[in-house]
Structures are given as C-alpha cells and as structure tokens.
Amino acid sequence: MNGSGPGEMKRRPIAFWVLHASGWLAYAGASSIFQLWGRWASTRQVFLSIIAYGLGFLFCIPLRAFYRKIRFHELPLTRSMVTAAAASFLGAHLWLGLQLVIGLLLQWPEASPRLLLQAYVEEIFTRVILLLIWTFLYFAIKTWMEWRLQAERREKANLLAQDAQLRMLRYQLNPHFLFNSLNSIRALIDEDEMKAREMITELSEFLRYSLDSKDYTDVPLKHEMEAIRHYFAIQKKRYEDKLEVVYDIEPKAGEYPVLSFLIHPLVENAVKYGMRTSPKPLTVSLTAKTSAAGLTIEICNTGRWSEPDRPEDQSPAGTGTGLDNVRRRLENAFPNRHRFEFFEEDGCVHVRLEIHDSRGVTHE
C-alpha cells in the first residue's frame, strides 16, 4: 500500500475480516434457513453444513492472497474477468474436493462422496458462483474504500491549502512602520529622551502582539484596540501635530470576539491615504458599538478616498494589508454574517464593518 497513514493501515485489514466473516455468516444463516424451512436437520447435517460453509470461508483467504500477488486490481477488464472466472472455477473444485475427502474420512452416509458427485454440476456451479460473487464484492468494497480514502485526502489537502492561504492573508508587520519608527526613536534620543523611551516601549508592545504567529478567530476587540493604541502612540510621536486620533469604543463592544489584526490594516490605510489627502491635522476616529444584531466598527479619516494606483502605494507583497484581504478573511470567518463597506461623506472616508451574531449566541 503506498502512502497510507498509520490509521488507514490498521483499518483496512480489520475491515476485510469483519466484512468477510459477517458476509459468510449471513450467507450461511440465510442459506440454512431456506434449505431447512419446516424440516429439522440432524446434528450431522448441521455439522456438514458448517464444514461446507467453513471451507468456503477458508478458501477465500488464499484466493485473496492470490489476487494480491498477481495485482488483480491493476489488470485490464477482460483479463481480470477471465482470471476471476478461472480462479473461481479452480477454487470451486478444490473446495468440493476437500469436502469429498472429509466425507471419505468421516464415513458418514450423509457425507458420502457419491452424493456430492451425483450432483457434480450443481455443486460446482454453486461454488463457482459463490466465489465469483465473493470476488466481485471484495473488489467492489475495496474500490469503494479506496475512493473514500482519496476523497478524505483531497479534503485534507484542500484544508491545508486554505490554511496556507489564510496565513498569507494574515497581517504581517509592515516593514515601513518598523524602520520608520526606529528612525524616529534614534532622532528623539538627544532631543527628548523621555519620548524616545516611551516610543521604544510602545513599539515593543505593538511588536509583541503583531509577531504572534497564531491566527486567532476569537480575540476580544479590546485586545485588538490595545495594539491599535500602541500603534497610534508611535505614529503620533512620528507625525507630531499632523495626526489626531479619537476613540469611541463601547465597553460591551470591547468584549466582542473578532479576528486578530482584522482592524489594523484598515487603520493603516486610514493613516496612509489620510496623510496624503487630508488637510492637516489628519483626524482618524475609531468607533465600536454593539446592538441586537451584533458588532459595528467604523474607522473614519479626514480626507478623500483614493485608489492605490501607483507602485509605491501597493502594500509590500504579502503583508496582508489590502482591503481585499480583509474582505476574504471576513468571508472565511463569518460567512454570510458580516457587512463590509466604505464610502466618502462630509470630507471623511468611512470604513464600516459589521459582524452579525450567529443565531442564538449573545455576547454580554
């Protein structure tokens, strides 16, 4: 067997034996019921029946080994049919032959070889059919299990691919932000030592959060907001009086679970495009509130909406900061229960995000 996992390796032989034994038992049982309907069988007849069915059960084992040896499942259709017929024919004879031998040894009249030989054609025919049916069932079930296994593997592969894609969409630290911040800290050291220290503290707090490699789907909004507060503390030291930030986060909204770094790309965009299009000072406001329907978050920045059309506007590849990425993450985590829209109004760009409660779940 190529490429089976450990669980799969154990399951297949067990499955075979369970099916094989129960199949023969069922056949033996049904067959006996039909044959003995209304009649009572003597002990010897019962014994002989058991031997007959038992031999059938046993003969299938070397038959299976034979099929595996010749790699039956790889044979083309006609050849496999011919092989199955031949194997069943031969097997039927061996089976009957053994019964004859046992009859001779026992010397019971009921087991007389002559009885069996008189009905030779019928006896052989029955056995050949049985073995053929067995062969067919064996390969049918085998194929079905193989197919199931492939489907499982495909499913797993899909999940892994999706997972990898999601990782790419995850926020990754914006190198511009990091190096610009370090640059500012260096400049502040001899100008305002206190500020330089504060900035280092804020930066390390922010990095601690953003470098966490796990992709959380249930971070309380207030943790996200903490990271954003650190981010803005740094930005305000860099941009000084060119940047103002306003927060309006309802306490209940703070408890609502969101995706890690879902909001951050939106905030970065607000700063980037706001700095470009807004009269100074750029004002960014963040609001979050809960309602019966769920959570609503809005990020506004003074300025105008602009398309990222220049190369220097594109997010550095793979930093997960595009609006597209946010949308995809929302679709993945809150399928059909979110809203994501942006519009320009009153000299501000608004980005609004709604996450709706799944039915029956309330967040207190």
Binding site: F179, A187, R276
Partner: protein, 116 residues
C-alpha cells in the same frame, strides 16, 4: 574629492530629517542648505537654492519622491532614503546616485558620499 557639497533634505517627517542631518554633521564637506517636507516645497527649494545633492524620501503625502523627479529636471544628484527596499530597482531606473535604508547606517552614508 573634498569639494563642498550643498545638500537638500526632503522627508515628510521632521524626526527623519533631523536624524539624517545629524549624521551628515560628521561630514565636513557636506552643508545642509535646506529642508522640505513635501514635493511642492521641495520644488521651490530646488529652484531657489540649486543644491548639488538631494536626499529624497520616497513615500510622502501627496506626490512621492519619484513624482518629484518626473515633475522637474533635476541637475543635482539624488540619494533616495527610505525605510524598505522594495523600490531599489526603480531607483536604478532614474539614475539615482544611491539608495539608503532608514535608519541610515553612518558607514553606508559615508560610502554613498564617496560616490560623488
């Protein structure tokens, strides 16, 4: 090699300009003759002061450093100063003298100045 160099520093962040000017202080032949915090004021400063060398940030509000070079014929040599290296190839295309990463390494700055 030690010709006096008249330099203009263009960056939208005051602290970034301050940091670079502090580093340039170690080079006697360089005199910073002006600063600008966006492309329009940079254009004005270039016309008024006629610098030999311009330290140019790329990502600025409004027009970028590249936009400045497209907007006017600049006789001065240009050294780009930016936080991350994704624009290095484009810097080559516009014949920049060099491309420095913030926070600028003093030794790297010295090498860039030697290229003049």
């Amino acid at each position: 090699m030690n010709k006096p160099i008249r330099a203009l520093v263009v960056d939208d962040e005051r602290l970034a300009r301050k940091d670079l000017i502090a580093l340039l202080g170690a080079h006697d032949q360089v005199t910073v003759i002006g600063e600008a915090d966006d492309v329009p004021s940079a254009v004005e400063a270039i016309r008024a002061l006629n610098p030999d060398l311009i330290f140019l940030d790329i990502q600025m509000p409004g027009d970028s450093g590249f936009d400045l070079l497209e907007k006017m014929d600049v006789e001065a040599q240009v050294i780009f100063v930016t936080a991350y290296d994704e624009f290095a190839i484009r810097a080559f295309e516009v014949n920049a003298l060099d491309y420095l990463l913030k926070p600028v390494n003093p030794e790297r700055l010295a090498k860039a100045l030697e290229k003049r």
